[in-house]
Every structure is written in structure tokens, then in C-alpha cells.
């Protein structure tokens, strides 16, 4: 149970060779062993989506996956969205449209929305809202999150 396993993760392009207990969640591995604390835990039972990261191109709730299951995977977290000082269109849209208040759910929304639009650039607005309704926010009432994601979607598609 507590015997550790050696795994290798690539997080935002950087390789991490870490030794973790098999039961340790991917979220905890990313936060504690890879030092990327931008990924947040809001419920640890897969409902709120605050811990959403992109694993091999797909949005994943990192509280529901063990770190060892991600051995060899390419992982993207909120820290990898911007290119240097240049914000990703989704990040820019979130601040321009005031789509965050406390900012705790924000990394999960950013990664979910970015991933979905990368996979399905032509997603219908209704389907997009369905996808976004899988994450929870307690501050904003969502209205500005919808505005921001729609704006970023247009820019990502054009861009």
C-alpha cells in the first residue's frame, strides 16, 4: 500500500521522475511531487472539476486518477497555458470578462474549456454549455465564464 513506485510524468513539457505511493492521486502528485500548485482540489470526489488537467490531450479530473496511472503521460496544467509572458486567449478572456473572483475554480475551468475547444473547435454553443456545466464555480454565477469562453473560442478558432 505504501510501497512507492517510480514513474515518469511530463508536466508542461518538463519531465518529472518521481517515486510515489500507488494510492496517491494524480492531483497530489502534480501539486506535491511536481510542485505545480496551480491545480486545485475542491471536492476530491470528481464533482467540482477544480482539479481538471489535460492528460494526453483529454480533460481529466486529477482527483479521480492515481498518479501511477499517468506514468509516461503528457500532462498540461494551468501553469503551462501561457507562453512566457503571453497569456493564452482563454486566460486573457477570463480577466477581460471578469470570469473569476476568488480564482479557486479558475484553473479547472481554463483547462476544461481549452481542452474542449482544442478537441472540438466547431462545438455547438449548446454542447459547449453542457461541457462547462460539469465544473462548479461558487463566486461568479457563471455568466461571465460563459462570455469569456465564447470570446476565447472565437479567437482560438480564428487564430
Amino acid at each position: 500500500m505504501t510501497e512507492k513506485m517510480d514513474i515518469n510524468l511530463t508536466v508542461n513539457g518538463r519531465s518529472h521522475a518521481v517515486s510515489v505511493a500507488p494510492r496517491k492521486t494524480l492531483a497530489d502528485v502534480i501539486r506535491e511531487d511536481c510542485g505545480q500548485t496551480g491545480t486545485h482540489l475542491g471536492c476530491e470526489h470528481g464533482i467540482c472539476g477544480a482539479c481538471t488537467v489535460i492528460v494526453d490531450g483529454a480533460p481529466v479530473r486529477s482527483c479521480l486518477m492515481f498518479g501511477v496511472q499517468a506514468d509516461g503521460a503528457e500532462i498540461r496544467t494551468v501553469e503551462g497555458l501561457a507562453k512566457g509572458n503571453e497569456l493564452h486567449p482563454m486566460q486573457r478572456a477570463f480577466t477581460e470578462h471578469h470570469a473569476l473572483q476568488c480564482g479557486y475554480c479558475t484553473p479547472g475551468f481554463l483547462m476544461l474549456a481549452t481542452s474542449v475547444l482544442e478537441r472540438e473547435p466547431n462545438i455547438t454553443d449548446d454542447d459547449l454549455l453542457d461541457v462547462l456545466s460539469s465544473n462548479l464555480c461558487r463566486c461568479t454565477g457563471y455568466v461571465n465564464i460563459i462570455k469569456a469562453v465564447r470570446a476565447a473560442a472565437a479567437e482560438m478558432k480564428a487564430g
Partner: protein, 773 residues
């Protein structure tokens, strides 16, 4: 006032982007879970699985023997630490009902902390906590505040207090009333549920003999006072630090058992101690709120004037009285009359303990509940008197001519005096905006076609800016960058941006050159924190006064440097120049700061530095006001309520950043909708909580929240604050359940049917099954 050319500078009224955002959108935030110290221990709380019982024994032997466990504490290990005291100071009448950091003798709710376990890592701590065995003699559980009280202790019953407020002549008014209208309504138990669970990191710095608590929020300075009393330490030896905070809503940041435990353990175990709550714990351990039953009657004259309210209410306080004491009862009994005259009034609150999670404040405490009760009652009066509900409200609204309107009620120690506002005038604007009359016709037609659709209105007044005072310090460095040090707090509401905009306006600089400090007891000795919609009103007013003092000093020195009279100078984007010659000779704020350096000859006999500290005192709270209008469609088969349209009108006095205010209103509305339709803590007959995951406790998603229309007016700047500002934090939630309830009734065509929140699909379906053919 801000001008068009200054809009990018973030002066008053500008919807500029928030200063808070860059770290939060790039994953660089520092929430309590992100704070670590070398060699830290992880604390796990062992909680009572029993709702009520006498503790026979707590067996910690197996847990202590578990590898990686350093210590396990029960109440015996902290026998010297008194129960958690009230935020506003000691209160002998309520002292008996306080909660110890670890339960002593009895447990009083499922989730009551019984033992604290300290281990080398969080996973180990959670494993070992399961080895702690709690033996109790179970006692009968009390789960309803309107059931007869039980014995609490030492001859005291579970009715901890009877809170009464009254004025006028109730008996005669009811005896002579044309009509008496009665109502019995319930508000469900729900709470703030921030997306970040609570957390606390205790660190003892032996080198300086200072105890540090990270993860503080809301009221760090108040909590320091309480902690110092409990740990018997001087204020200068305890510091609280607020980092990024993942939402507060009134429930985060009060002093909880876990905060006390990490501090005590950091000292006694001589290692840093970290505690991060999980969601299941949060839903049974952090403050609940709201649960009340009101049995109320109104005395009404023939012309529809409401002559009196007489309310008896039962407040379900849960297992103990926490830091707020009876403040929710006070706000409930103090705000029930709302925006109406109500010349005679009595409210009696049975403030009762039960065997559930302790309750306290959640965004809009007292007003959320009373707005629901009062507006339900107004709707019922309208039906029974056969008066149009809007006309009935107009008949009873306090008029502008009557302002300021005083009544003999107390809200948090402040005598209620409505400051000027035109309640009826705003209602006119709102009804016009939604085309109320046309809307009624359209909805009636749809109902004729078989749809269950309806509209509802709720009116309210809010409270904000409770004093008596707050202060601020401002320092301008020689590069012209500015530090504003406050004792305010930020729970995600944009406090830094708001303070920076106020300072930028008064100092004539760019808000991005301003750094705002908050939530740190080591930087300033006082502070009101962030609660009860007062941070912007009170701390913002203090920042403004301080900034104006700095401005005065800057202009005085610049006048000497430029050989120009001070009253002919202005400051634009940090540059001081002649008002009539913006491109002529000038000095910067940084130049002035340099001229005021201690050794600078230009300083003369002035105090050194371009800096100031000032206080703002407020005599009465300021009372913003507004109304909500909801349009809903009800599904006859499922009982689901779909909100088709939502409108909020609110007079803010003066808006600092309209974008952020609208954000507050919409966010509050979402929580109001949650409490109106979905969110509820339920218990089984043994007191076992049934809502301990997000699959049982349902937060609204974006599919449940409409895109509301907002009418934000600045018609009546507050006369009680220098900038005219009033609070904005709570108006979005206050009116929601009342408007939605009214709209549901209108939709299903059964007056008086909605007497309970949340109106879950099951409840609404039952109502329709019983009462619709």
C-alpha cells in the same frame, strides 16, 4: 470624478480589469493548501459519528502506535485551552454554549471534533485517524428548533437565548385591525460552501517567539484578539496571514476549532502543523446557516396599509454557539420590516441549540431569511385583501420624503436609520425595464395555453458599512509607486482593485501603480476585515481620507518645488502640474517623495516621507436597496423550476467598479437560486447528516443560472460616506428566494402554496399533485 481620458487609469467608476487576476489565471496563486514549511506535520481531526452523547472514552492507543503518527490529542491534552470565544468579546449569558476545540464530556453533532491526530503526511494521518475509537452513551437527539427544548447543562435548556425586538402597540393594533393575515414559513438549512475548503497552517517561530497562523481570512485582526485570549499570549506575539482565499461568503475566516489546534500544536509539538479540510468534513464542520421557521401575522387596514407585523420565529443554531453569538437572531429581528413602514412591530426569536452542525452567518444573514418571510407575507396579504401585489407594496414603502427614516430597531448594535433612497422610484424604473404590465399579459396568455409560467417580485433593503471605524496607511516611494496598507480582507471580491481605484482617484495616479496590503496583522495593528458588506464602504472610506491627506502634502511640497500656488495644481497619472497647463513645468509624485526624504533639505520642518495614516468613523450603517423580479416555468410532471428571466435593480450610491459590482450581484444571485431551489442540509432521525458530498448537496451549475438583467443606479449616494458608496456584496442573494417563490406561486396558480425553501422538484411536485387537479 473620472473623466473619459482617465478610464485606463482605474479611477472611480471605471470597469478596469482586476489587479488580483494575473496570478490567479496563471496558477501562481498562494492558497492555504499551497503553503508548506519544512518538517511540517499534518493534522487530521477525528470527528464524532454520534449526534449526541456522553463521552465514555476515547481510545487513541492503536492510532498512536501507527507508524508515522507523532501525537494524538483529546480534550485532556488541551485542558488549559478555554472554549472558542465570541468575536465581539465575552458574553457571560452565552458562555456556557461555546465549543471547545476538542469535545469535552459530550458530543453534540456528527462532525464534532473529538481528537486531533498529527502525522508525518496527510495520507498517514487519515489512515491512523480511523484507528481512534470513540465510545459514548448516546443521548436523545434534538433535530428541530421548534420542538420543545431539552436540557443542555447545569439547568440551562437548549433555548440559549430569546431575542426580542419590538416597537409600537401590537395588542391594540391587532385587536382593531380590519384584517389579520397569518403565515407559517420555513427557510432550509444551507450555507456558503466556498470552492476551496478551509485550511490552516500553524507555525511557531521560536527565534522571535511568534505564533503564525496561515489560512486566515475575513477577520484576521479579530481572530488574533480571540486567539491571544485563548492561548494567553500578547497580541504582538501572534500573527495571522491571509493568502489567496477561495471564497468566503461569511463562513470562512471565523475562528474554528481547527485554527486553535494548529496554533497550539505548533507550539507544543515544536513543528509546523498543516490542516487541510476535505469536502465531507467541510459540509459537516464549517458553519451552516439560515434554518428558521417563522410564524408571523400582519394587521392590515382596509386601504391596504400594513399596520403591524408580529413574528415568532425558531432559529436552529445547531450544536454550539460559535463566534457570532446571537448576531443572526439580532439581524433577523432587526431587519424584518424591510423597506416598508410597518408602524407597529414585534419579533421574538427562539434561539435554540439542536444536534446538528453549528450555524452562523452566510452572505446576507438575516436579510435573506426575512426578505423571504416578509415578501411571502406581502403576497399573501395581497391575495387576501384582493389588492394587486405591486400596489400593496407601493402603499407601504417608506417614501423619499420620510428619509432618513428611523425606527426603534437594533442591527449589530446600530440603531436602524434608513439613509435617503427612493424605493418607489427605483421600483418604477425596474417595472418599466421589464415591461411589467405587458409581461403579465403575456404570461397570462401562456397560462391560458396550459403552460405553468409566472412572475414574482421581491423588495428589500440591505445593510452595509457597519462601523464604528477603520483606518489605512499610505506610503509613496521615490519611484511614485504606492503601498496602501489596510486591515481589510479579500475573499475574492476584488478588494485590492477597489482600494487601488479609490486611492488612484484621490491621488491622480494609475491604479496599477498601487499595491494593496490586506489580511496581515504584522503590517497594521487594526482592521475590520471583510464581512457584512463593509470592506469597501468602511476601509475604502479610510483609504480615501488617507489618500487625500497624502495628496494635500504632495501638492504643498510641489507648490514649493514649482513655485506655484498649491490650489492651482492638479495630479494626472502621477504627474503634478498646473491645472491650466498640463504640459508645462511639473514634478512627479516620486520627485515629491524624494523631496520629503528625512535628509532632504526640501523637507523643511515637515514630517518625513510622502505618507499618511488616517481614520474613518461612521455614525450609522448605510442602507442600499433594490428589488428582484423572476419569471419561471414549472414542469408539471417533474416539479422542476426553470428560471426564464431574472432582473435585479439596486442603488449602489456610487459605483467604484461597475464590472465588479455586477459580478457580486450575479454571483450572489446564483447562491440565492441555490438556496431557493436546490441546496439543503438534511439529517436522518438519528442526526446523521445526509448531505456530505456534492452529489447530495447540490450547487447550481451554469445550466441552472439564467443570464440576469441588472439595473445598477447611483441615484442616492450615501450621505454617510465621503465617496457616497454603499455595500454591494449581498444584494444579489437577498431578494432571490422571495422573488422565485412568488413566481412559482404565480405559475402554478395556487396562492400561499410556497411556504418552504428550497422548493425542490419533489416538494413542488407534491404540492401540485395534492392541489392541482
Amino acid at each position: 470624478m473620472a473623466t473619459g481620458t482617465n478610464r485606463l487609469l482605474g479611477h472611480l467608476g471605471d470597469s478596469v480589469p482586476r489587479l488580483e487576476d494575473p496570478p490567479l489565471i496563471t496558477g501562481k496563486g498562494r492558497f492555504v493548501g499551497d503553503i508548506n514549511f519544512p518538517d511540517q506535520l499534518h493534522m487530521r481531526i477525528v470527528r464524532s459519528p454520534f449526534a449526541h452523547g456522553t463521552i465514555k472514552s476515547v481510545d487513541t492507543a492503536a492510532a498512536k502506535a501507527h507508524p508515522g503518527v507523532v501525537a494524538v490529542w483529546t480534550s485532556d491534552d488541551i485542558a488549559d485551552i478555554p472554549p472558542i470565544d465570541f468575536r465581539e468579546g465575552s458574553n457571560p449569558a452565552l458562555a456556557l454554549f461555546r465549543q471547545y476545540a476538542l469535545a469535552r464530556d459530550k458530543v453534540r453533532y456528527v462532525g464534532d471534533p473529538v481528537a486531533a491526530l498529527f502525522a508525518e503526511d496527510a495520507y498517514t494521518a487519515e489512515d491512523a485517524a480511523e484507528l481512534v475509537v470513540i465510545n459514548v452513551n448516546e443521548l436523545p437527539v434534538l433535530l428541530n428548533a421548534d420542538d420543545p427544548p431539552q436540557d443542555f447543562k447545569d439547568g440551562y435548556t437548549t433555548e440559549a437565548a430569546l431575542v426580542e425586538q419590538a416597537y409600537g402597540d401590537i395588542e391594540n393594533t391587532f385587536a382593531n385591525a380590519f384584517k389579520v393575515v397569518e403565515l407559517d414559513v420555513k427557510i432550509g438549512r444551507h450555507t456558503g460552501v466556498p470552492l476551496e475548503c478551509r485550511g490552516a497552517v500553524g507555525h511557531y517561530d521560536a527565534a522571535r517567539d511568534i505564533v503564525e497562523l496561515y489560512g486566515a481570512a475575513k477577520v484576521p485582526h479579530r481572530n488574533r484578539e480571540t486567539l491571544c485570549r485563548m492561548l494567553d499570549r500578547p497580541a504582538s506575539s501572534v500573527h495571522l496571514y491571509e493568502g489567496h482565499t477561495g471564497g468566503g461568503f461569511g463562513i470562512r475566516g471565523e475562528l474554528y476549532p481547527e485554527d486553535v489546534l494548529v496554533c497550539a500544536a505548533a507550539i507544543r509539538l515544536d513543528r509546523p502543523v498543516k490542516w487541510i479540510e476535505d469536502r465531507q468534513e467541510h459540509l459537516m464542520a464549517a458553519n451552516h446557516s439560515r434554518q428558521q421557521r417563522h410564524i408571523i401575522r400582519a394587521a392590515v387596514a382596509e386601504d391596504g396599509e400594513v399596520l403591524a407585523f408580529d413574528d415568532e420565529l425558531y432559529l436552529d443554531q445547531g450544536g454550539y454557539i460559535r463566534t457570532h453569538g446571537t448576531r443572526v437572531a439580532n439581524m433577523t429581528t432587526g431587519t424584518l420590516p424591510g423597506p416598508y413602514r410597518i408602524p407597529n412591530y414585534r419579533a421574538v426569536c427562539h434561539f435554540r441549540l439542536t444536534n446538528k452542525t453549528p450555524a452562523a452567518t452566510y452572505r446576507s444573514p438575516g436579510r435573506y431569511e426575512t426578505t423571504f418571510v416578509r415578501e411571502r407575507l406581502m403576497d399573501k396579504i395581497a391575495v387576501e385583501m384582493d389588492i394587486d401585489p405591486v400596489a400593496l407594496r407601493r402603499r407601504n414603502l417608506i417614501s423619499l420624503e420620510e428619509m432618513p427614516y428611523w425606527r426603534d430597531l437594533d442591527v449589530l448594535g446600530d440603531s436602524v436609520e434608513h439613509d435617503p433612497g427612493d424605493y418607489a422610484g427605483l421600483l418604477d424604473q425596474g417595472l418599466a425595464r421589464v415591461s411589467w404590465d405587458e409581461l403579465q399579459t403575456e404570461l397570462a396568455q401562456r397560462r391560458d395555453n396550459g403552460e405553468l409560467v409566472g412572475a414574482g417580485l421581491s423588495m428589500f433593503f440591505e445593510k452595509s458599512g457597519l462601523g464604528p471605524s477603520d483606518g489605512a496607511k499610505i506610503f509613496v516611494d521615490t519611484t511614485g509607486h504606492i503601498e496602501v496598507v489596510t486591515g481589510g480582507a479579500s475573499l475574492g471580491q476584488g478588494f485590492e482593485t477597489a482600494m487601488a481605484q479609490i486611492c488612484a482617484e484621490d491621488l491622480g495616479t494609475d491604479y496599477r501603480r498601487i499595491r494593496v496590503v490586506h489580511g496581515r496583522t504584522d503590517r497594521i495593528d487594526y482592521g475590520v476585515g471583510a464581512h457584512a458588506s463593509r470592506a469597501t464602504v468602511l476601509t475604502g472610506s479610510a483609504v480615501s481620507k488617507t489618500a487625500l491627506k497624502v495628496r494635500e502634502k504632495a501638492l504643498e511640497v510641489a507648490a514649493e518645488l514649482l513655485q506655484t500656488p498649491a490650489d492651482t495644481l492638479d495630479i494626472t497619472d502621477g504627474v503634478i502640474h498646473a491645472k491650466d497647463n498640463p504640459t508645462g513645468p511639473s514634478v512627479t509624485l516620486g520627485d515629491v517623495a524624494a523631496a520629503l526624504a528625512p535628509a532632504a533639505p526640501t523637507r523643511g520642518d515637515r514630517d518625513p516621507y510622502l505618507a499618511a495614516e488616517e481614520w474613518f468613523n461612521i455614525e450609522h450603517q448605510t442602507y442600499p436597496y433594490g428589488h428582484h423580479i423572476a419569471v419561471v416555468r414549472v414542469d408539471r410532471e417533474t416539479g422542476e423550476v426553470k428560471i426564464e428571466k431574472y432582473f435585479m435593480a439596486y442603488d449602489i450610491g456610487r459605483a467604484i467598479n461597475p464590472m465588479m459590482i455586477e459580478g457580486q450581484l450575479v454571483g450572489g444571485l446564483a447562491q440565492g437560486i441555490g438556496g431557493a431551489l436546490y441546496e439543503e442540509f438534511t439529517y436522518d432521525e438519528r442526526g446523521e447528516p445526509l448531505s456530505v458530498t456534492f452529489m447530495d448537496y447540490l450547487l447550481p451549475t451554469l445550466r441552472e443560472i439564467p443570464i440576469p438583467e441588472i439595473l445598477l443606479t447611483e441615484d442616492f449616494p450615501s450621505t454617510r460616506t465621503p465617496l457616497g458608496i454603499k455595500g454591494a456584496g449581498e444584494a444579489g442573494i437577498t431578494g432571490a428566494p422571495a422573488a422565485i417563490a412568488s413566481a412559482i406561486e404565480n405559475a402554478i396558480g395556487i396562492p400561499g402554496a410556497v411556504t418552504q425553501m428550497p422548493m425542490t422538484p419533489q416538494r413542488l411536485k407534491n404540492i401540485m399533485d395534492e392541489r392541482l387537479s
